[in-house]
Symmetry: C2
Subunit: 318 residues, 2 copies
């Protein structure tokens, strides 16, 4: 454990990987490690990169990481690949390029799956960020396909959320309005040499202009990029620094991080309560009542009350 800890603190990639695997496989076993590394965390700045499949998120992530690494920053990348049927995940080519990137000394890359663990995305991603943070990363880039719940999770986790779109995304922009406004700190229009790019920027600007100014004073920028040619990535870096400065000076960063950690504590409590509640007796009782539920001799709402009654009474008996 001490070896793992000192490895992490020295940005040793094998130690980081082993620690993340430890936690992914069994959070409970990794708890003492997490408690040990926690004091070393809090220095990394987290950038969330999200958007629809095929928008070029991986390419953007790679270019951004390369540019930051050239400027002597240490970078951690967490690429969240959903194994879900319709999201597709990153193309093989992107992942190969990522592997090349990971040969750079100050870039650490980790690919994580969403599916399988209950509500697993945000949980493992958070713990993985803590480890990479403790390792001394200046920036942690979390890349995730923006579908369903995951882009909301990422927006709550990241300090700066970058939403990557392409001119073809224009069709559905009307339907996106509310959601986009809520999560995007920076918009990227990637593949901006394609037809319809300018019209799309106009549409986006109109949507941004609808944002109530009262809340805060950040003007969501729209950056045109052609990630495959590295065009626009310097502008993106500038805007991330700009946003980071804005968050810090306005006090919003602290508020954001407090909200995030509060949510994490509530999640951890819920998981503990689940394990605490569902002892063998209650699980057996539930199983014995399923037949009654199907036959409509009992109803789930009444059964839940009964289970809670058992729980309350038991906890009164030392």
């Amino acid at each position: 454990m001490t070896e793992l800890l000192s490895g992490i603190l020295n940005f040793d990639k094998r130690s980081i990987s082993r620690s993340i695997s430890l936690i992914e496989n069994d959070l409970h076993k990794g708890l003492s490690l997490l408690e040990k590394i926690y004091p070393y965390t809090g220095k990394a700045y987290t950038i969330g990169i999200t958007g629809p499949p095929g928008a070029g998120k991986s390419t953007i992530t790679n270019s951004l990481a390369t540019l930051l690494a050239k400027n002597k920053y240490k970078i951690g990348i967490i690429a969240v690949d959903p194994t879900s049927p319709f999201t597709g995940g990153a193309l093989l080519g992107d992942r190969i390029r990522m592997t090349e990137l990971s040969s750079l000394e100050n870039i650490y890359i980790r690919s994580m799956a969403t599916r399988g663990s209950l509500g697993g995305l945000s949980k493992s991603v958070y713990e993985a960020s803590l480890i990479i943070d403790a390792a001394g990363a200046d920036f942690i880039i979390v890349e995730t396909v923006g579908v369903g719940q995951s882009e909301l999770d990422i927006a709550e986790t990241a300090d700066t959320t970058v939403v990557v779109l392409v001119p073809e995304s224009g069709d559905s922009v009307q339907a996106m309005k509310a959601g986009l406004m809520e999560i995007a700190d920076i918009f990227i229009l990637n593949k901006s040499d394609r037809e319809g790019a300018d019209a799309f920027v106009t549409t986006l600007k109109n949507i941004i202009s609808l944002k109530p100014k009262s809340e805060h004073n950040w003007d969501t920028p729209i950056i045109k990029t052609i990630a495959t040619k590295d065009i626009g990535i310097d502008k993106l870096t500038d805007e991330i620094f700009h946003h980071s400065k804005y968050l810090q000076e306005s006090g919003i960063l602290e508020k954001k991080r407090k909200t995030h950690i509060k949510r994490k504590v509530c999640e951890l409590v819920a998981e503990k309560l689940r394990v605490y509640f569902w002892d063998e007796d209650k699980l057996r009782y539930l199983d014995s009542k399923l037949e009654d539920l199907l036959l409509r001799k009992d109803n789930p709402y009444h059964l839940v009350e009964t289970l809670l009654e058992i729980f309350r009474n038991k906890t009164h008996i030392p």
Copy 2:
């Protein structure tokens, strides 16, 4: 309440709508209604229709419902519209057509949003199905955009899950393999007059052939449809009846429904425990410790243990 109940039992659409709204707004207030209607439920057969945006799910749902309604069946449709940024939701035209459909006496349509309520999709959808079930619907069609978690939820909720694809979906089919196999009881290739349809069917067949035969004996059919012209919908209806018969005779339907209701009870317990745990004292304590967490004077894992300790001790004092 009695009025609402008798309205529901008479398939009175206003009563159904009012009851669903009641539960959506405040599950707690709707509990006694749910307990009252539960004995009348269990007769409806649930069909989940899912697939990527733009595949034509709404059109399929409309045609299927119309065909079933012509055959004197009572139908409930729950259209789950994500307000999430990238999923888009159904096009306006589809919803207008749905409104026309709802003028039919034996079709009830309800649109529900995914976002906003924590894990709200499956919860409200389940309660809405119960109400529609009690109202006497023979079939409940739950239509949801298949992205992220929602299509997994739907596969666990529905008796028969129909996955709608289009020839253009072919590109990502390799990435989808595992997930698709897991959830699809019936595949639809919609817009099957488009280029690439036959090649896509071949690809799908190959994927289906990889399915381990040991598990069960259902051969996942692939149905070619052109939903806008009502082509293939009769075949779909046949296959749904076919699958329903298979599930009943094999005993899988009962197992599926038991698993589903067990999961619902666990969800309800988790929600109750959350409310039970987070009393004012503990919430205040958590808030008072957030600063320490940010300053790394305490860590979230230790804080969780402290909170649980408070919880355990309190429950010992009557």
